[in-house]
């Protein structure tokens, strides 16, 4: 598993990372631009989704249609997204067309046309995106949960709200793009089949600029309410629960990951066993680790019919609290095997690797090798996980429910 890492930093500070993979014909890439939801000015929530749409409506010498045709012509599977810290644009394609894809993205990032008449449909689609969330309570509960759990504005949802989007102007959006697409704060990552030297030469032509002042740390304030209920006459109560834990950079990170895996790694993990297998309370039940650079949490979701909602919440929080009371060797072993196996299975996908190295660099300022992660997982023991859990008890739970019935949060 001794994979190679390519790295080059342009004079303006833009970081280029690459992980070559054997036996694949694809290349996946992404530009992590520092204009994510938490970086948006007050009153502009949802603007990053407008940005993401608008920049693809024509760039350089191509209008919207020509640009789209060019991207389709090289068979690119686009994969753009907005999260708390970044707007990411990129995708995956057959390696032979990578150079052309990067040229086109050079235009999209550096010379988007941002034509006035293309703004309105971009904004309207973002508004429709907010409304569409009403018809997807499971997704909505997750977004609100992060908003309530993380200190403001870290958990701000990329979707935003209708009022802000209605008030958004092309001028403000142009300014957001100008500030947010700061190349000195940008990470580019590629994985799969590629030639790094030729990418570096290409980027020296298309992305080398005067250094810009970097954005610095995000300022954040207080957290919101502990319990939020949104009434909805649906079939289920959708329950989101989140509690704090350590970030990736913390010494206890691997103890935390193993603990979460004991709780909800595989089908033999505690939540699935207690909530679904023994009591039949839910179909969907699971908890996973979620991290930002500044804070991290364990995010749990369960969907259940109204009369079972209270019991479901109570069983879940009891399982969280019971974890520090004791864990068997078998449980730890299964959790470790599961984490290591997931790591290697993901390493076969060029998209996962490109995302993985970029996110490591953002969170840690370096890229961990698979060997390092594997060793650190192997080093955890029943004792190390229990000591961690006893020193970091789950005391506060942020809870969000959407559905026909409220629950009582103890």
């Amino acid at each position: 598993m001794a994979e190679k890492l390519d790295k080059h930093v342009l004079k303006n500070g833009m970081v280029l990372l690459g992980e070559p993979m054997e036996g694949v014909e694809s290349a996946a890439f992404g530009f992590m631009l520092p204009g994510g939801a938490s970086r948006l000015p007050e009153g502009c929530s949802g603007a990053a989704n407008v940005v993401l749409d608008w920049i693809f409506r024509g760039a350089g010498d191509k209008n919207s249609r020509q640009l789209s045709d060019a991207l389709d012509g090289i068979g690119l599977h686009r994969g753009s997204s907005v999260n708390s810290a970044h707007v990411t644009v990129g995708g995956v394609l057959e390696a032979g067309n990578l150079g052309e894809a990067l040229d086109l993205h050079g235009d999209i990032i550096r010379q988007p046309r941002l034509e006035q008449e293309q703004f309105e449909p971009a904004r309207q689609l973002a508004i429709d995106g907010v409304l569409a969330l009403e018809d997807d309570p499971r997704q909505k509960v997750t977004l609100i949960l992060r908003e309530q759990f993380y200190p403001t504005p870290l958990g701000r949802s990329a979707v935003g709200n209708v009022e802000d989007l209605k008030a958004l102007t092309p001028e403000t959006t142009r300014r957001i793009i100008q500030d947010g697409f700061n190349l000195s704060d940008t990470i580019f990552a590629v994985a799969g089949k590629y030639e790094f030297d030729s990418i570096v030469r290409q980027f020296e032509d298309s992305f080398e600029t005067e250094p810009q002042e970097t954005l610095g740390a995000i300022k954040f304030g207080l957290r919101d309410d502990r319990y939020t209920h949104i009434s909805n006459e649906g079939a289920q109560v959708h329950i989101g629960i989140m509690t704090g834990t350590v970030t990736v950079g913390d010494d206890d990170y691997y103890n935390a990951r193993v603990a979460i895996s004991v709780l909800s790694g595989g089908m033999s993990a505690r939540l699935f066993t207690e909530v679904r297998e023994k009591r039949g309370l839910c179909y969907a039940i699971g908890a996973r680790y979620h991290t930002l650079k500044e804070a991290a949490g364990i995010m749990c979701y369960a969907g259940t019919t109204p009369e079972k909602a209270q019991e479901t919440l109570d069983v879940i929080t009891a399982e969280f609290n019971r974890l520090s009371e004791g864990i068997s060797e078998d449980e730890i072993e299964r959790a470790k095997v599961g984490l290591k196996s997931a790591l290697i299975l993901q390493s076969e996908s060029s998209s996962s690797r490109a995302g993985g190295i970029a996110s490591d660099y953002h969170l840690l300022g370096r890229v961990r090798s698979l060997d390092e992660i594997k060793t650190r997982i192997e080093e955890t023991t029943v004792d190390s996980v229990l000591v961690f859990l006893r020193d970091n008890r789950f005391e506060d739970f942020t809870v969000v429910t959407i559905g026909p019935k409220e629950v009582k949060v103890k």
Partner: protein
């Protein structure tokens, strides 16, 4: 890549594609059974049975099954459709034999009454969950309307009533008639030792007895009915359109996939430019689903209530234009490039490869290397796509919409 296969005397097909350079291996059991093989009374039994396989055997209880899977670090699951039930696991190569042995055991489940009664709750929760997902619900309802009178009209999940009324005995009898070795394929892909896996499967499954497990196939043109369902708690209009297409056994399935991509890929398609780019709809996509003996073009459109009539006008025009003038060469080239990269990328992972490998054997009794699919996609001509349009008239569709109550 090396392909291996062996058909056991009882009809069980064992197939594998060995790729020694892969870091993982995947195994799958493909059972040719789904909601179309059920009677009305036991609708939902295939999917419920899929859940029940995880409840173990005479020797293994449900908790032990989950622990046994997790000890291998497997990424494993199962899914049920109208016509297939598939169980799969992806693991590091050294665990493939262990996880395969576990699946083999589970393929002869205990189907205990207690487990059956407890799992009913989980199934009903799953039905409730999908009711809260209008994008899924609308397709389920549209399939029912489109296939009216055809076995494929049955819902995969069943209804609360059909699940409530079902007995464990009915499930056991369905199991005996459908999980017959001659109605199943076991496939492996990635880095594994063929001799080891094949002999383990042969030793354990060779004694399974064979039953008749037929399925009557008939092509179906679709009901072409139009219906709308109102729901109080919805915000947007969800529209599903279905029309007939070629079956999975038909070589024109690649042309059909390209046609769906030209009309309704999520970017760069006719729907995209006429509906999404102009912000008339938040989403507008079309996919082609090749099925056993039939096929379906399925479109999904999500838009605001105010835009519904305009959207339907535009949709009608998109279909009218394509029926009158056909597709362009540029559209075909773009669609081919997108489909080719999709096929290549998906098949890079043993897990992705396994699915194609298993379904090709299920439907065609044929091994198709990835390169053969690539060649077949490249060789599709504009005339072939246009003749599909002429024969199947995608504009002549069944339509089902769900949305909020209309204001008068």
């Amino acid at each position: 890549m090396e392909f291996k296969s062996k058909i056991l005397e009882n009809g069980l097909a064992v197939i594998g594609e060995v790729n020694k350079s892969a870091k993982s291996a995947a195994v799958g059991f493909f059972v040719k059974t789904g909601s179309r093989d059920e009677s009305e009374q036991i609708n939902g039994v295939s999917h419920f049975l899929e859940h029940m396989l995880f409840k173990g055997t005479e020797k293994l209880g449900p908790i032990e099954v989950n622990e046994a899977f997790d000890r291998t670090g497997a990424q494993f699951n199962a899914f049920t459709s109208e016509e297939n039930t598939v169980y799969y696991a992806a693991v590091l190569p050294e665990y493939l034999i262990e996880v395969t042995r576990l699946w083999i055991e589970l393929m002869r489940p205990a189907l205990r009454d207690d487990d059956f009664n407890l799992e009913k709750n989980v199934i009903k929760e799953e039905i409730a969950m999908y009711k809260d997902l209008p994008s899924f619900d609308v397709m389920d309802r549209c399939r029912k309307l489109h296939f009216e009178g055809h076995p494929c009209s049955k819902s995969v999940l069943g209804s609360e009533q059909s699940i409530d009324g079902m007995t464990a005995e009915q499930m056991r009898s369905y199991f005996c008639s459908r999980y017959s070795p001659n109605n199943m394929v076991v496939g492996c892909a990635g880095n594994f030792d063929w001799e080891q896996i094949c002999s383990a499967i042969e030793a354990a499954c060779g004694q399974w007895s064979k039953q008749d497990a037929d399925r009557k196939l008939e092509h179906f043109g679709g009901s072409k009915k139009k219906e709308r369902v109102e729901k109080a708690n919805m915000a947007l209009e969800h529209i599903c359109l279905m029309s007939a297409g070629v079956p999975a056994q038909d070589p024109r399935r690649f042309a059909a996939s390209l046609l769906a991509m030209i009309i309704g890929d999520d970017v760069g398609s006719r729907f995209f430019w006429e509906l999404v780019d102009k912000a008339l709809a938040e989403a507008a996509t079309m996919q082609f689903g090749a099925m056993d003996g039939t096929g379906v073009f399925c479109s999904y459109i999500l838009c605001g209530s105010d835009n519904v009539s305009k959207v339907l006008e535009v949709v009608a025009k998109v279909f009218k234009d394509i029926e009158e003038s056909g597709i362009t060469q540029e559209e075909l080239t773009k669609a081919k490039n997108k489909l080719l990269s999709e096929v290549v990328i998906k098949n890079e992972l043993p897990m992705g490869r396994l699915i194609d490998l298993g379904f090709n054997w299920t439907y065609l009794r044929e091994y198709r290397p990835v390169g053969q699919d690539v060649e077949d996609i490249k060789s599709v001509t504009g005339e072939q796509v246009n003749s599909l349009i002429e024969q199947f008239k995608p504009g002549d569709f069944t339509q089902l919409s769900t949305g909020p109550a209309r204001q008068e």
